[in-house]
Symmetry: none
Subunit: 203 residues, 4 copies
Amino acid sequence: MPKSASTLSVPPPRAKFDKRRDKLLVIAARCFNEQGYDAASMRDIAREMAILPGTIYYYFPSKESLLVAVHQEGVRRILAKIEAALAKSSADPWERLSNASAAYLESMLGVDRDLCAVIISEFPRRHSKDLRAELLAARQIVDDRFRNLVADLPLRRGVSRSLWRLALMGQLAWTHAWYQKGKQTPGEIGRRLVDFLRRDSEN
Amino acid sequence: MPKSASTLSVPPPRAKFDKRRDKLLVIAARCFNEQGYDAASMRDIAREMAILPGTIYYYFPSKESLLVAVHQEGVRRILAKIEAALAKSSADPWERLSNASAAYLESMLGVDRDLCAVIISEFPRRHSKDLRAELLAARQIVDDRFRNLVADLPLRRGVSRSLWRLALMGQLAWTHAWYQKGKQTPGEIGRRLVDFLRRDSEN
Amino acid sequence: MPKSASTLSVPPPRAKFDKRRDKLLVIAARCFNEQGYDAASMRDIAREMAILPGTIYYYFPSKESLLVAVHQEGVRRILAKIEAALAKSSADPWERLSNASAAYLESMLGVDRDLCAVIISEFPRRHSKDLRAELLAARQIVDDRFRNLVADLPLRRGVSRSLWRLALMGQLAWTHAWYQKGKQTPGEIGRRLVDFLRRDSEN
Amino acid sequence: MPKSASTLSVPPPRAKFDKRRDKLLVIAARCFNEQGYDAASMRDIAREMAILPGTIYYYFPSKESLLVAVHQEGVRRILAKIEAALAKSSADPWERLSNASAAYLESMLGVDRDLCAVIISEFPRRHSKDLRAELLAARQIVDDRFRNLVADLPLRRGVSRSLWRLALMGQLAWTHAWYQKGKQTPGEIGRRLVDFLRRDSEN
DNA sequence: CATGAATGAGCCTTCATTCAT
DNA sequence: CATGAATGAAGGCTCATTCAT
């Protein structure tokens, strides 16, 4: 086959690069989630990926940048799942919140567990200021999405929407500490947790 | 004063040892809380304590044992505060839970912040099996106390007490991620969070 | 020379790695021999090798593994020398033992002094069970070779071959404690020591 | 009892001191023998003695001085046993050497095993010059005793008495590497080893 | 006599990172 | 693209030793 022709049939440039980068991201997320960011070494990640440690630096300039990328990818996937759920929802604000919560936990406790869990198990206090800002910005996006959903709720006058939202987020996040695959699906748990906070707060 | 009586006022043996050990505990807790267990080095702790790194090992045989001791002391203080609050409470189960939650957050977000926060910010997944068992045992004690309080509540039939309790614990624990000294006191926050879950769930 | 033939002369893969690893082995052996295993620090070894301490771990995963490798290499060299000497020997069992003893001391007191001496100057009592097993296994190989040579000797009835062998091994090993380059060569010493035990024991 | 009288009945001054010092010596010897000089820590020794580490320094100014004292005591006991055996011996030089060798191994492999074994298992190469001198001086005393015994033997002309003696000493010392309590007593082994070297060498 | 407490140097090891090839 | 090799700092921890009490 002539060389010039092959360029037409190959996937777009950097496709291979992006594919390996994505795989690296997932593996790094798993390591971070299983061992903690500090305890997970670049060697661990490289070993799981079956490459040499130095090679990681071709895809990411530093360990911190890996962490940021994991956060961002986690947020991306959560948001995608939430938006997909909302797209199928009615206009009822409680149903919308319920669906969003279910989607959130499906990401967090399901297939994307590692990528998403890093978002809540990493307390960024210890990191450098720049890193901290990036991590918090990523989380902020999910927070904002829920803020909007809560804003639409017909809560009773006097109920602090901000505290109410934090209560819900706490319930959802904490599942990471106790959930084990069992009788209830992540989605069911998400709906029930919303229900706990629901009727009393209603107008 | 007769000499025989003095034995009552004499400080117990190893008083100096215990005092420094306690101080070390508090400082270690602060370091763990600020930087994370892995990122906090024994040298950091020693520097804050104004002693040489080796000296820590006179008080604790290892870094892990320090972590365990911090957990245990944190649990001890939380429980003491909760029990004190319950002693002043009426028999009303909702009031009792409300007071306990307030006490819990007063510990967690107040003076004992560092000691107590380690309990929830440390995800023991990455540690050795023995260490993990000890850390989880410490947490279990607080969990059990709340389990008892929830058992006394007149919840509506069909509400899972175990999920309900996890919802509350999640709300409380998550305050650690967002609380900053401000208009609401930790105690007030604790009561409000209980209220969010309250009336709808009642019988 | 045709290219196809060059595969024979090309250095095997990882040639550089192996070369430096071997050099490290020799230097470590010297340090162990001069200062004792415990007293010889990885820093010492690194300094002699003109590398940083951490670099050693690229070649050996631990200090203990270095010790094991030194033992194994020492045994390998001793055996090679002994077999070479036996290959040139007649069938006379006394001559064979004499040649083997000479070869043994030529290794132990000569060029391979450091590598080989570790074998007898390291009393493995203090090490972990696994390490001890590996060290003893290495020694066993040399022991077995001599056991075979002794089995062929026409010793008088009633002479315990096992004690007789230990007597010879003791004489040979102890040279490490007193030998200094001087008038007698290691080989001569080996032959004389065998002679001391020889004629009286004969059939 | 009046205080003044008690001074008459108590053991000579420093008797208690000496007794504890001796016990310390024995315990240190055991630790050195079991773990090696470097690996045996002052803390280990103190623990076995049921005192605090600092207290050792009341009896010995340093770890090295402990080693020297162990060596000296080991040599003292070996020599005492040898002299006692010689006192009961005839004038026959072979019998005298045989008895001395038996006595030597009875010390080395028997009750005084720890104290005496340190003498041969410690290769002083690694120590400071002064320490080395003291250790070698202690060994020299035993060496000299055997040198005298060998000088009296009617060896064949042409046999190097010095090499012959080193051969014997090697056989004896090496028992430390293989002896285990079993069918043969240390004394029997000593006599047999001398026999191995005997008749052929005779005039 | 003996202790409790501390010291400071040093140990083995691990790590994120770099860079010539 | 990826590797092999090295770096240098830092990690947890142990040690012989000291000294006021």
